[in-house]
Amino acid sequence: MSNGLTSGLKRFQLKASIAGLFTVFFLYYLPVLNGLKDAFKTRLFLYILNNPVISHSLKFTVEQATLSVILSILVGVPAGLVLTGLGYRASRWIRTILFTVFMAPSMVVVMGFTSLYGENGILSSRMHLFSRLGEGFTGILAAHVFYNAPLIAIMVYNSVASIPREYWDLISSAASLSSRTVWRRVLLPYMAPGIASGSLLAFIYCFMSFAIPLNLGGPRFSTLEVNIYMYYKILQNDRIAASIALLQYIILLSIIAVMIKVSSEAPHAPLTVIAKARTPRSARLLSLSYITIFLLYLIAPLVGSLYYSFYNPITGTYTISYYRHVLSAIYDPRLGIPPINVLFNSLYYAFMTVIISLGISTLLSIGWSRINEVLVVSLLAISPITLGLGLLRTIPPQIPVWIPIILAHTFAGLPLALRSIRLGLERVSRKYIEASFSLGENLWGTLFRVAIPISRQSYIIAAAFASAISLGEFSATLFLRTVKTTTLAVAIYQYRSLRMFGEAYAASGVLLLLTLITIYIITRLEGVNSSESR
């Protein structure tokens, strides 16, 4: 929405902004503060800092996050640079794959790694060395690189693609410039902020990692997030759990403060695609080989898990019986409900998440300000388990558990949904708003009849983001759920824990399919949007 039309509009924007901020505070910050209230006692906080198990976990969390980020940079930066040298169509396809990997549900990735590198994995059963990628410290690092190298690659691509075309013309006309100078004087200054903010984001994701260390790491390699879960759910010590959550929150908040500073200096997203770099044939061959191996590394786990969802290793035959099982309406005592209900739960939560995310995002976007930005970015410092802890300790037991689950899913999807809606509403030209007012439509009418319909694509993208994230959300759901509120992601975990791998792969296949549909919608419409803005 435009600013400054009349004081009425300003008041409307202010009211919407306050309503949005109040909703975010009431739904998220308040439960978290309530959940952490025990932790504000100095004695308790000192106790957890001196506890060897927790200090080991903190050390491990920092180590694995740092190493994961370094490896992701080493793998992702060359991939991003290779992408900038490819033609538009090829690079767009590859970026779609990278985006798909980035959005893939964590339990799908766990199953993908299990299918390739786990016990009886496609690769590990042929070469034992690969089994190191399926478990333990190396397994965690490999999965984190799988997730975060695409993020770094996309950010590098965006940074390099935003270099003005004239720079390249200048470089090609100045024959005396060495490639080292070009690297130092042009590429690096443009790439550095992108790599920095991408690395910080990756660090936050790895620091808060839950599904991967829980499934691939085992007890020796548990992050702080896993420890909060263990202390609360297994050891039933909610005070210690709250203290670990507070420690994690403080660390993440500091990182986010740095990230806000870095991202404000980052170059804008590219509007043009740079020309193909003129590279020697041998270098081009090397680049193509690198990107092919990188893509294989990303695609293979997803294909592997799909393969095992149709393959019975005991009989050596192909089957759809696993899918039949996970889509069955017959009660399954191991899940406690009919498996089809798991799918319905996931779809219902995704639907509700979309509705709530769009509502909150619209309120926040109407009166977008620096305060909104800081408050929303600071949400990144709250881990799903911390939120789950807060919601469990705040919401009265008589409230159905699906409500906090949906709130947690909305929380996870909010940053991306909000970004899409905010940009969409900002793009609505002021002239349409003014025309609507001058034709007698009031503020709400203008919002619902003009601004939202004109930015409908952004709303569809936001809905797709929110549903993709809700479908894949694992940490908070596992923390909050009851038997009846199990989702697909949690069911995969349960099947895997029960060593029902076929069913776990099939559930993972269904979840992957649903996620791919949402990603398809996002990438199709984002293309339309970007071509419109061009």
């Binding site: 039309l5 009349t6 004081s7 009425g8 509009l9 002239k431 349409y432 003014e434 025309a435 609507s436 007012f437 001058s438 034709l439 007698g440 439509e441 009031n442 503020l443 009418g445 009849r449 003009v450 319909p453 004109i454 409908r456």
Partner: protein
């Protein structure tokens, strides 16, 4: 009755931009044209009346009701923008129905009104099209139909024809004027085009640097502007003779100097072709005078220009 009255109205953006201390009354049922050069504050004036901008000071009354704080959607005015702003997600018919739906008019009643207004504006065939399937003229017709469908007391036109080609512009502006006059709607039309203003206006109001420098019936303002700045906006000849300014419209001369009160012996400098007449530029005591001459006659190299229509104002008053 005054449809719109502005009392000491100021909308200030910066020290020198905006409109300042404007006092004017727009009589009901008339076609008013606000004329002024670019940056004079014409659009600002309309936007303040429409409620899209808030005045810095002063009062705005519509139908004798003070509307200083009324939001735009509560004012009985419709604004037609320079560029036809049709909602891109709505068909033509839905665009036209938009204001009636905002007022909660029943669907069948609204549709019948829309069809009627569409016929009046010759866009009956276009109702099912999307805005991007229309030509510039068709788009402006639709936006005018949309502005008229609620039968507003006042229609504000912000240079609505400036993006159209000449022949379309000339036909459309007269056609729309006739429709508006027949409907008895008060019109405030802003433009920088003097021909358009003189052709359409019952009353002309001249804005210059954010200030109202003349206002009144079209012929009076054209023949006897009350300020030198108004004369400047109307592109009249201004001749400074000892601090007294002679204001002469380009058609205020005659080449027949017999029985003439005031004669200016002048030399021809150049001639320019204009539609319908020839513009001869004469030099008189260091002043260049632009004189409209019928196409069929040829301007003499030396002429005693006779002033048949002029006014005198003290140059220092406002120049």
């Amino acid at each position: 009755m005054k449809a719109v009255k502005l009392v000491s109205l100021t909308k200030q953006y910066t020290r020198n931009t905006g409109i300042f201390n404007v006092n004017v009354a727009f009589e009901e049922g008339l076609y008013h044209v606000v004329l002024g050069p670019s940056g004079a504050g014409k659009s600002t004036l309309l936007r303040v009346i429409a409620g899209l901008e808030e005045q810095t000071s002063g009062d705005l009354c519509i139908n004798n009701i003070k509307m200083n704080d009324a939001p735009p959607y509560k004012r009985p005015v419709s604004l037609v923008f320079q560029e036809p702003v049709l909602f891109p997600h709505l068909r033509v018919i839905d665009n036209i129905l938009f204001p009636l739906e905002a007022k909660g008019v029943r669907k069948d009643e609204a549709t019948s009104k829309a069809e009627k207004i569409a016929r009046l504006l010759h866009i009956g065939e276009l109702l099912d099209r999307m805005p991007d399937e229309l030509s510039g003229g068709e788009r402006q017709r639709v936006s005018i139909a949309r502005a008229l469908i609620t039968e507003p007391l006042i229609v504000l036109l912000d240079e609505p024809y400036s993006n159209l080609d000449l022949s379309l512009r000339e036909n459309l502006r007269w056609e729309i004027r006739s429709i508006l006059k027949n409907m008895g709607i008060t019109v405030i039309h802003v433009t920088h085009d003097q021909d358009e203003a003189l052709e359409l206006a019952d009353e002309i109001h001249i804005l210059y640097n954010g200030r109202l420098v003349d206002s009144g019936p079209t012929q009076r303002v054209y023949r006897k502007p009350r300020t030198v700045k108004a004369a400047r906006v109307l592109a009249h000849n201004i001749v400074d003779i000892d601090g007294q300014c002679l204001i002469i419209p380009i058609d205020g001369f005659s080449l027949d100097s017999t029985r003439c009160e005031r004669v200016m012996p002048s030399k021809l400098v150049e001639t320019r072709n204009r539609r319908g007449y020839m513009l001869a530029v004469y030099e008189f005591q260091g002043n260049l005078l632009r004189v409209a001459i019928p196409k069929e006659s040829s301007p003499p190299k030396k002429a005693d220009l006779c002033l048949v229509n002029f006014t005198e104002l003290p140059c220092s008053k406002d120049s």
